[in-house]
């Protein structure tokens, strides 16, 4: 027993010695000498991962105390695995944050896999990003060149998404239902790239993509070669419950509401619950990528991180890099604003929630 104790003790001393060599004295700055572990809720190489690592590269320079940053990808169930981990298991001492694509639809549709509420997270900041719908031109004899041509389509076409509960799938079902377009929805594609391949192969004709995916993947592969055409973008929700054209999207691509009114008449609005659902989807796009910590984290940590985020959003180098990667300008939200948007997003009328769940066809 004594032998075991002395062996363990010696190994502990050796291990601690190795660490002590690199330790630095404590300081008033919260993160001084600490490690900040960052969870990314999608796999390496995806949009969330690349954007997350990019923002961290700049943000680390502005976090007071300059902590060492360790990134860990924790993908699964549409971002739910990492969200659960952050809310339930992560230490609440400021050592763990998440750079996530918000799993808002899982919460709005009350998916039982999601075990925490986004209300239980503190938002450090957020990035908004628009979504664009596009379709193969040859779905209509004579070709589709714009949204008005699309409204003339009468035959059934195939649409694609990732899972019945993903916001892309719900958005496709909702918008095409509101436009009375006949379609068959194919779900389960692992990533946006496989949907693009399927469109190129004409197995699928229609889908939606984030602005990053649209400019970097869809445009070179499908739009420029003349295979597909953009139809509309989600649009920016206004305080009066309407939509305005997003600054980051080309002028010739209308909002969905423009197309809806082209079909049903000027000034005509969709039914209340359907429109309520649509606005929730649009709100989700405002906080698509979020930086979050669990509730209970020391206030100084949150303040330091929020300050660092705001400085990052003004860093010319980061803004240039974001534009290069996403082919559009950064649309940032402060932590406080993001928190407000999310609180509002999750405040759903029961009838809207019911309608939303009816769109989740399992």
């Amino acid at each position: 027993m004594q032998k075991i104790a002395s062996t363990v003790l010696s190994s502990l001393v050796l291990g601690a010695g190795a660490i002590a060599l690199s330790a630095s004295p404590a300081s008033a700055q919260f993160y001084k000498g600490k490690t900040l572990n960052v969870l990314i809720n999608y796999g390496a190489g995806g949009n969330t991962d690349v954007q997350g690592r990019s923002v961290l590269r700049f943000m680390e320079n502005y976090i007071a105390g300059k902590p060492r940053i360790v990134v860990r990808n924790m993908p699964g169930a549409g971002g739910v695995v990492a969200t659960n981990y952050l809310g339930q298991a992560a230490k609440k001492n400021g050592s763990v944050i998440g750079v996530f694509t918000i799993a808002g639809m899982a919460e709005l549709t009350q998916a039982k896999e999601l075990r925490v509420s986004h209300k239980d997270l503190i938002f450090i900041g957020a990035i908004g990003q628009q979504q664009i719908a596009h379709i193969r031109k040859d779905v209509l004899d004579g070709g589709i060149n714009n949204a008005n041509d699309f409204l003339k389509v009468t035959k059934v076409f195939k649409t694609a998404g990732h899972a019945p509960t993903s916001s892309k799938d719900v958005s496709i079902r909702l918008t095409l239902k509101l436009l009375d377009m006949k379609h068959e929805h194919v779900t389960g594609f692992k990533g946006a790239n496989s949907i693009r391949r399927a469109i190129l192969q004409n197995g699928i004709q229609y889908t939606e993509d984030s602005l990053t995916g649209y400019y970097n993947g869809v445009q070179p592969l499908l739009i420029k070669p003349g295979v597909s055409v953009p139809l509309w973008h989600v649009g920016q929700p206004t305080k009066g419950g309407g939509l305005k054209h997003a600054d980051t999207v080309a002028k010739e691509i209308p909002t969905f509401l423009d197309v809806y009114q082209a079909k049903h008449g000027k000034g005509k609005m969709p039914p209340a619950d359907a429109w309520g659902t649509y606005l929730k989807l649009a709100q989700m796009r405002q906080v698509l990528r979020v930086i979050v910590t669990p509730k209970g984290v020391p206030k100084q940590a949150v303040a330091d991180l929020r300050a660092a985020w705001m400085k990052t959003t003004k860093d010319a180098g980061y803004l240039a890099e974001y534009k290069k990667q996403n082919a559009s300008d950064l649309v940032p939200l402060s932590g406080e604003d993001a928190q407000e948007v999310v609180d509002d997003l999750l405040n759903v009328k029961p009838s809207v929630q019911k309608y939303m769940q009816s769109l989740v066809v399992r």
Partner: protein, 653 residues
């Protein structure tokens, strides 16, 4: 085109691009050689360093690293029986037995030679295919992927070891394991038992490390300090391996082509390619008797394929901006960061950039193989060291390798569970490769089937390439059946795979019964899910229940034979020591909960050296101190991980 090729070469060989390429190659050897790290981890870590570089330097750096990970991963696979990366799982089936025979240098020589040739030919193929690749890639959609996966499953017969029923049940178990996690098709969590960790499914690396590496560690620790090599002197050298590669050039070439095609089809993935090549080597061999026991062809086939795959994988990425793997998705990001638009531009106005990628792949493969060849002979000597000196260091890499991917405690639990399963399978004549094959192919099959059916309905079956693959499946099965009948007639009924010699029905029967319960339980649970979510699990469990009946009956027959033959002997002593060592491994996560991961690993090292290795204090202290520094440098500075800290004190946060 010639001008673009020369221009591309100049982009790579000019300074500082060449310097970045060499640096990338060295880093790639590190990422390949350390189990658990991989080209993907390397890409994710190195990408931010390319932001300030020009295109020539950035791609030389990233691809230089990426190209050689599947060359360097052979080291761990051959010398230690631990897959260096997911692309070298199959290499251990014959590479490690060669090392045990004292022929590690020969295995490494052959592996590096074919890796180099495979890598260079893959790059050449990439260059030649750029103009004609479009129709080929576009003709493969989900129905074809499903059928390719079914074709892949036909290799189970060749990898089943002594019992085809156990092989088939093993493949079904792999398919079933692949079904764990959130099902996008039915929006239900399958077999997760409310565990957040299992929602994303079982991760491949801990499963494979558990199945293959831990049983070897148990074996090594149980043999009272014997070396990996069971002979005292090296049997043959690197040059013998080079000669083997030359002798089996036709196999190497075929596997190179297989590697390129598997790599080129987005979604099939690098973890499959070595199994496809290995299965092909076994299927096409006249004399299969040495596969699984140290047949050099079992090293040549996967190593040629896994390097060649990388040239193939680049094609859809640069031609269509469709990355076939996560590594290629990161490379795609590098294109965007460089302001390059993948697609037609890279095949026309920016063709020189595409050629610079080809040259980088070719040069990195030659450089990496040459460097590894130069060190191979010295490194191979570790197989002659006493096993007790190796076990603690290998265990550190195995445990950290399992941890790196997700950094979750569940990864260690998976590692230990699959370590136990792998060990029991090894002892009881259950072949492990079919299980890994089923595990890798399961998701490809399910995606292919569901999306294929939703997209094409029954037109799925009338697609020309699907029909061709169905014919290939039938031909393969008929050929396998005819061969087995021929062997039976000749009195040679032994099949190929691992662990054919080990058949311990005393261990096997409880395992069989446990599996029977697992398959029955999994069937019952699956029946409660929506049709889209339950279809594939039932495809795995229902046939498995039938196979298990035969397995149990055959093991009962073996049990009677064994009882009549012998009583307990030395093998029981080894078994006891194996169980003892397994409990030591279980102690690592348990102790981690109290003193944290870093300290628990070091405590394991020190205690193992003292009590298993009977080492003196000085040697124990030096070894433990070196381990502490190595862990700290590799996993806290070079590839930082999220450590599991003690609840009582924190070393890293």
């Amino acid at each position: 085109m010639f001008d673009a090729a020369i221009d591309g070469l100049m982009l790579v060989i000019q300074w500082p691009a060449m310097g970045y390429l060499v640096l990338g190659v060295f880093l790639g050897m590190f990422f390949g050689a350390v189990p658990g790290l991989s080209g993907l981890v390397g890409m994710a870590i190195l990408l931010p360093f390319t932001f300030g570089l020009g295109p020539g330097e950035a791609f030389a750096f990233l691809l230089g690293m990426y190209a050689v990970t599947t060359t360097a991963d052979t080291l761990a696979s051959v010398l230690l029986g631990v897959p260096g990366t997911a692309a070298s799982q199959a290499t251990i089936l014959d590479g490690y037995p060669l090392a045990q025979r004292g022929e590690a240098s020969r295995a490494l020589g052959a592996a590096y030679t074919v890796s180099m040739i495979g890598g260079v030919l893959g790059a050449v193929f990439l260059a030649l295919s750029i103009p004609i690749v479009k129709p080929l890639i576009l003709s493969f959609a989900e129905p074809e992927f499903f059928m390719l996966a079914v074709l892949g499953l036909t290799m189970v017969g060749s990898l089943s070891g002594g019992s085809i029923y156990k092989g088939l049940a093993s493949a079904c178990l792999g398919l079933l394991l692949a079904m764990i996690g959130y099902s996008a098709f039915g929006s239900v969590a399958r077999y997760t038992f409310d565990s957040n960790y299992l929602l994303d499914g079982l991760p491949l690396v801990p499963v494979v490390l558990g199945l293959f590496a831990l049983p070897e560690m148990i074996d090594l620790a149980s043999r009272r300090g014997a070396s990996i090599s069971r002979v005292e002197t090296a049997g043959s050298g690197m040059m013998d391996g080079v000669k083997d590669a030359a002798k089996h050039w036709w196999l190497g070439l075929r596997c190179t082509a297989l590697g390129v095609y598997v790599g080129m089809l987005p979604g099939l993935g690098g973890s499959l390619v070595d199994w496809v090549a290995y299965g092909h080597a076994v299927q096409s061999a006249k004399d299969k008797s040495q596969f699984g026991k140290g047949d050099i062809r079992g090293v040549i086939a996967p190593e040629a394929a896994n390097n060649a795959m990388k040239g193939g994988a680049l094609l859809p990425t640069i031609a269509f901006a469709i990355p076939g793997s996560a590594s290629m998705a990161i490379l795609l990001s590098a294109f965007l960061i460089q302001g390059l638009e993948p697609g037609p531009a890279l095949l026309t106005t920016k063709l020189n950039i595409s050629f610079s990628l080809v040259w980088t792949l070719a040069i990195a493969n030659i450089l990496g193989a040459a460097l590894l060849m130069a060190w191979g002979k010295q490194v191979a000597k570790i197989t002659f060291l006493p096993g007790h000196y190796l076990v603690p260091a290998i265990m550190l890499f195995v445990f950290m390798g399992a941890w790196i991917g997700n950094g979750a405690f569940g990864d260690w639990i998976s590692l230990l569970i699959f370590g136990l399963i792998g060990w029991v399978m090894k002892l009881s004549g259950w072949a492990r490769p079919p299980m890994v094959l089923g595990f890798i192919l399961g998701i490809i099959m399910e995606n292919g089937l569901h999306i294929g059916m939703q997209t094409y309905s029954w037109g799925f079956l009338s697609r020309p390439i699907v029909i061709i693959i169905i014919l290939l499946i039938i031909l393969t099965m008929v050929a396998a059946w005819r061969k087995s009948e021929k062997n039976r007639a000749a009195g040679d009924v032994k099949e190929v795979g691992d662990s054919v010699d080990a058949r311990n029905p005393v261990v096997a029967l409880p395992f069989d019964l446990l599996l029977l319960v697992v398959f029955a339980g999994a069937t019952a649970i699956a029946l409660t899910w929506p049709p889209a979510a339950r279809f594939m699990p039932l495809i795995a469990t229902v046939p498995a229940l039938v196979f298990m009946v035969f397995v149990v009956l055959l093991d009962l027959r073996d049990l009677r034979a064994v009882r009549a033959e012998k009583s307990a002997g030395e093998s029981d002593g080894v078994l006891r020591r194996g169980v003892h060592f397994y409990l030591w491994m279980v102690a690592i996560p348990v102790v981690t909960l109290a003193i944290g991961q870093y300290m628990a690993l070091l405590a394991f090292v020190a205690l193992y050296l003292r009590y298993w290795g009977k080492c003196g204090w000085l040697w124990t202290a030096i070894y433990t101190a070196a381990s502490a520094v190595m862990l700290y440098v590799l996993f806290n500075l070079v590839v930082p991980v999220m450590w599991h800290e003690s609840p009582f004190f924190a070393l890293f946060n």
